[in-house]
């Protein structure tokens, strides 16, 4: 391996070049994953259900045997068992022996991770303090709530003072205060130079702490990079105009845009109503689809007009001024002009929608 490539590989905690998993019946769970996690960063893995996130983590931790695997963790090939002594893992829906206390769980898994007895006793005490479980440490795990078990799970993943920590849904079942505590722990670990790899559905959680993310869709990496890199190309300006203005011309004519009408399905309600026990006859019909005009400006940037809201693929404040001028000259009242940076959720939904398996075309605007 050339020196430069070797250095690059050394700077990676997880270096996956080609990882595939095919189950019986020719079901491809992973279709050649390429993913790079740098040392000392918090890396988030996202994806819809069934995307293959947990399988990927399990392959890294040797729980699932890959069909094809070119990759390494901490500089050693995946499957090299001794290297796992430098990694910590919290699986999703973990089941700790119910007859052990929280302290015993940490010490037991410390023993399996080759931590000597005095060290694991000391580490257990430290970690119980760290995850806020000192007072409940000597209760049986069977009596713990989901959140408490999750905290103990995090502690056992850290008992061997690992360089790499893989967490599968670490905040699952944890209350908001607990989530914040866990986030703080992860940020502190990063400050100590540890690498944290998180697999989570909670996009807002990841957005707050992740340096880089990868979005897995249908067994492939759809997006990968820093949040800045991924969102920069998708930043946009939104201009909201009042319909009470004096302009009588359609907005597309005012802006000189070439657009085509597009019909979009209505977005789902944020809080779906609970279905009634006895469905009513003649229940309310679903909301009508949204009517959007989509196209390009004479200057080449994309534009999307939805009622009185204009979205434009411009990120430069100077470049947006001529459009505002035209609207005002035409008598429109500009109510709001805002540079919008897409959220992780936007990226996620876009990546999922772009997947051919979903049968949906990517949204051009966002």
């Amino acid at each position: 391996m050339p020196a430069a490539a070797a250095n690059a590989a050394d700077s990676l905690a997880i270096d996956l070049r080609d990882v595939a998993k095919r189950y019986k019946g020719r079901v491809d769970a992973l279709k050649g994953i390429e993913m790079h996690v740098r040392r000392g960063e918090i890396f988030g893995l996202l994806g819809p259900n069934g995307a293959g996130k947990s399988i990927l983590v399990k392959i890294i931790m040797t729980i699932v045997r890959p069909t094809r695997c070119v990759g390494s963790i901490l500089g050693r090939p995946i499957g090299h068992k001794p290297t796992l002594g430098r990694a910590g893992y919290l699986p999703e829906n973990h089941r700790f022996p119910r007859y052990l206390t929280g302290r015993q769980v940490i010490e037991f898994f410390g023993g399996l991770a080759n931590v000597d007895r005095p060290t694991r006793k000391r580490r257990a005490a430290e970690l119980l303090e760290l995850v806020g479980m000192r007072t409940d440490a000597d209760r049986k795990v069977g009596t713990y709530s989901k959140g408490m078990a999750q905290r103990i799970g995090l502690a056992q993943a850290l008992v061997n003072d690992p360089d790499l920590i893989l967490l599968d849904e670490p905040t699952d079942g944890v209350d908001p205060v607990g989530r914040r505590d866990i986030r703080d722990v992860l940020v502190r670990l990063r400050a100590q130079g540890k690498t944290v790899f998180i697999n989570s559905h909670l996009l807002s959680e990841l957005e707050m702490i992740c340096d880089r993310v990868a979005i897995l869709v249908a067994g492939r990496v759809a997006r990968q990079g820093t949040l800045n890199d991924l969102t920069l190309a998708r930043q946009r300006y939104e201009i909201e105009v009042s319909t009470n203005g004096q302009s009588t011309r359609p907005l597309r004519e005012t802006l000189g845009a070439t657009v085509q009408p597009v019909t979009m399905p209505s977005p789902p309600p944020i809080n779906p109503p609970i279905p009634p026990a006895f469905p009513l006859v003649g229940a309310a019909p679903p909301p009508p689809p949204r009517s959007i005009e989509r196209g390009t400006l004479p200057t080449g940037q994309w534009i999307e007009i939805e009622g009185s809201l204009i979205r434009v693929g411009i990120t430069d404040a100077a470049a947006i001024q001529p459009l505002i001028d035209r609207l005002r000259i035409d008598g429109a009242i500009v109510q709001r002009v805002q540079l919008v940076r897409p959220s992780l959720e936007d990226l996620f939904i876009e990546a999922v929608a772009a997947d051919p398996a979903n049968g949906r075309a990517p949204k051009g605007g966002i």
């Binding site: 699932v64 001794p82 999703e92 973990h94 052990l100 023993g111």
Partner: protein, 392 residues
């Protein structure tokens, strides 16, 4: 401490904590204490048995069975043979059948497999921890019995501790099957029920083989009896021919009668030969099946063999044989009795039972334990292969 010892120690400590948390472990321990207590109240003296301060006069007294042997028989036959080898093993299976299904359950196995320990070592160590239940129980029971035999009979025989590896080995024959079924089905109930079914099957094969062996032994005694009688009749025939040559007038009639008897005997033997052949063939087939399977009863019986409990039984047999010969001389069992002249031998004949037991006892330890351990090794290898190859 080396990594192997650290990890193995952690797994065994976890298994011990698991046992401590199980009510069944304590129930079995309490019953073991009751069994030892019941042994303690039973005794033997020159007049017969004693239970607490009551005395039951019997021919079985210290004149026939020495005190140490009496306690060793109780220990190996009742304590180990019945309590540990049957009831305690069933209770141990109930307690440990869930070890593998729980171990490979989603969310549990992930935690183990993600640690720096190879799958094979993890599996084998976990398997060994499953034997902890029985090993601890037998060790405690045997220690109590060791002190009991020492205190009551004055015999401090360390060989009683052979019960620990013997019973653990017998349990391991079944536990390997339980492990394989647990791995395949992921169900505790299925593992337990199918293992008990397997045990019953072994018991069935063992009992059938013993019965066929006794039938075969009876058949062999019958064949030998026919040969004896043919030989006797040949001598008779020769004698009558000699008398005819000496012009004895009655000799011809006696010769005809002897020849008729021989023809009848030959016909009788010819008619019963296929049955004996079939029994021998069936026994060979069943013996081959038994060779492959683990031998729980015979492995347990090794303990009695090693404790020399059979010495007393052999003495009793000598007494029986002496009585039988005395009865034969008195004509109680017919003219040929005692000379292997019986052409219809029942399976419950004491000679058949003794010869069959001799054959069983003569089976080498290497065959009894070797073939059983080979079976266990094959089942364990298959289980380990499944465990190591599977995705969780």
């Amino acid at each position: 401490m080396t990594p192997i010892l650290t990890q193995t120690g952690a797994l065994f400590l976890d298994a011990y904590r698991d046992l401590n948390a199980k009510k069944m472990f304590w129930i079995v321990l309490v019953i073991s204490c009751l069994v030892v207590a019941s042994f303690a109240v039973v005794g033997i003296n020159a007049r017969g048995f004693t239970i607490l301060w009551f005395e039951i006069q019997s021919v079985f007294n210290t004149g026939v069975i020495p005190k140490p042997t009496f306690y060793k028989i109780m220990f190996s036959t009742l304590g180990v043979g019945w309590w540990l080898n049957w009831f305690a093993i069933i209770l141990a299976l109930v307690s440990t059948a869930g070890i593998m299904p729980d171990f490979i359950a989603g969310g549990a196995v992930d935690l183990y497999l993600s640690k720096p320990i190879s799958r094979l070592r993890l599996f084998l160590t976990k398997y060994l921890t499953g034997l902890l239940f029985v090993t601890l129980q037998v060790a405690l029971f045997t220690t109590a019995c060791f002190f009991l035999i020492g205190a009551r009979a004055g015999s401090w025989d360390l060989r009683v501790f052979l019960a620990v590896p013997v019973v653990a080995l017998v349990f391991s024959y079944l536990f390997c099957v339980c492990t394989l079924i647990g791995l395949l089905t992921r169900s505790t109930v299925a593992a337990l029920l199918l293992t008990i079914l397997f045990w019953l099957m072994i018991f069935g094969v063992h009992s059938s083989e013993s019965l066929l062996l006794m039938s075969k032994t009876a058949g062999r005694i019958e064949t030998q009896a026919y040969e004896n009688q043919f030989s006797y009749l040949d001598k008779e025939e020769a004698m009558y021919k000699e008398r005819i040559a000496q012009a004895d007038p009655k000799a011809q009639a006696q010769l005809d009668a002897t020849r008729k008897r021989r023809r009848e005997l030959e016909d009788k033997k010819k008619a019963s030969d296929p049955t004996r052949r079939n029994i021998a063939t069936a026994h060979r087939a069943l013996y081959a099946v038994k060779t492959i399977l683990p031998k729980t009863a015979e492995t347990s019986a090794l303990l009695a063999r090693w404790l020399n409990v059979a010495e007393t039984a052999a003495d009793e047999e000598k007494l029986d044989e002496r009585d039988r010969r005395r009865a034969a001389r008195n004509g109680a069992n017919g003219w040929f009795s005692g000379f292997r002249d019986r052409t219809e031998v029942r399976m419950d004949d004491s000679e058949v039972i003794r010869e069959s037991e001799d054959i069983i006892n003569a089976r080498p330890v290497s065959w009894v334990m070797g073939t059983s351990i080979a079976f266990e090794a094959v089942i364990l290898a298959l289980s380990a292969w499944i465990f190591c190859r599977r995705d969780y």
